[in-house]
Symmetry: C2
Subunit: 196 residues, 2 copies
């Protein structure tokens, strides 16, 4: 059931780094992005895959992790992602990428979750450094990085309280808590023919 | 399996309009968006739901349909969507919405597909007219409209040919064909420890 998968698909930031993710797995995930909707069907997204320790370490060095956990600089060696998918926009195809990378990233992380993996969409990227590491052609723009691996942390959904605070937090047992707004707080209006 | 669902989840533009979609179903879909990832967990998305013929007709009048089918102005009466989810960005929460609405829209349409429904993400919107119809507060920005209903058309995935043409087309039997780029055309580079 898709709702179970979506609920289980929490952003994960600590992994069993020594549990490798192979290239075939990453290609299967990209295929899910490939077959997802694209604005005007332009399909301007391109991908770079990484599951090799040396390049992984270089990619890792360009990423910003959990902004709200100010005392936590990011995952330590041994709990870092085992793989990355770098999502690029091909400016030779389109200058605007709309929400194509959001759609594709969601498909890919749902696929990862189904395989027993977990991931995180990272937008806080030192793009200049990552361009150099990946030796990117000028027509390719860095949109998002997906970090992927075998999950090493527990994530729990909470309800946003009356103060409206949406900052996630980590408890003593290192469980990660994520407050989500309730349905009644996000539905502005409903137009229906009356009681069903 | 998520890959079957993603493959089956084709953008649909013709529906059995008389097969109603109720408010509970729309709320279940919004709940899937609600539980999906959000940049910095800000959750700035808000939603308006519609499944009532009069408001549906007004929303329909603001939408642009398939840009590449120049002889087809959009679905005729009887084959129009039975419901809409209007995705809004709350500028009181964030000025930038990143790809949050792409992530949420993909979750919602996968959920719709699992329920035997289909939909289409529409970004070609007469936003000024839709604002008036929905009587929107100034702090809410229209991001996307999801059209939803019981599907009335067949959609087939094709492979983009050597000419690179990505325009979808409709054949004599009104089957809708959508060319997708192949995996080898979208993966720019792979970094792995060697043959697995």
């Amino acid at each position: 059931m898709i709702d179970d998968l979506i609920k289980a698909n929490r952003s994960c930031r600590r992994f069993h780094e020594n549990q490798r993710v192979d290239l075939k797995t990453l290609e299967e995930l990209v295929d899910l992005g490939r077959l997802s909707a694209s604005g005007a069907n332009l399909q301007p997204l391109k991908y770079i895959l990484a599951c090799e320790p040396q390049i992984n370490a270089e990619i890792f060095s360009t990423l910003g992790w959990a902004a709200y956990l100010q005392e936590w600089p990011g995952p330590e060696p041994g709990e870092r992602p085992a793989a990355y998918v770098v999502i690029l926009g091909d400016t030779g195809i389109s200058k605007e990428f709309g929400v194509d990378h959001g759609i594709a990233a969601q498909s890919m992380l749902l696929g990862a979750r189904e395989k027993g993996l977990a991931g995180c969409m990272l937008g806080s990227i030192n793009r200049k450094a990552l361009r150099e590491i990946l030796n990117l052609d000028p027509h390719l723009k860095i949109l998002l990085v997906l970090a992927i691996g075998k999950p090493r942390e527990e994530v729990v959904i909470e309800t946003v309280g009356p103060d409206g605070n949406i900052r996630y937090w980590r408890d003593e047992a290192a469980v990660h808590h994520v407050p989500k707004r309730s349905l009644r707080d996000i539905i502005v209006a409903s137009h229906s023919p009356g009681p069903n």
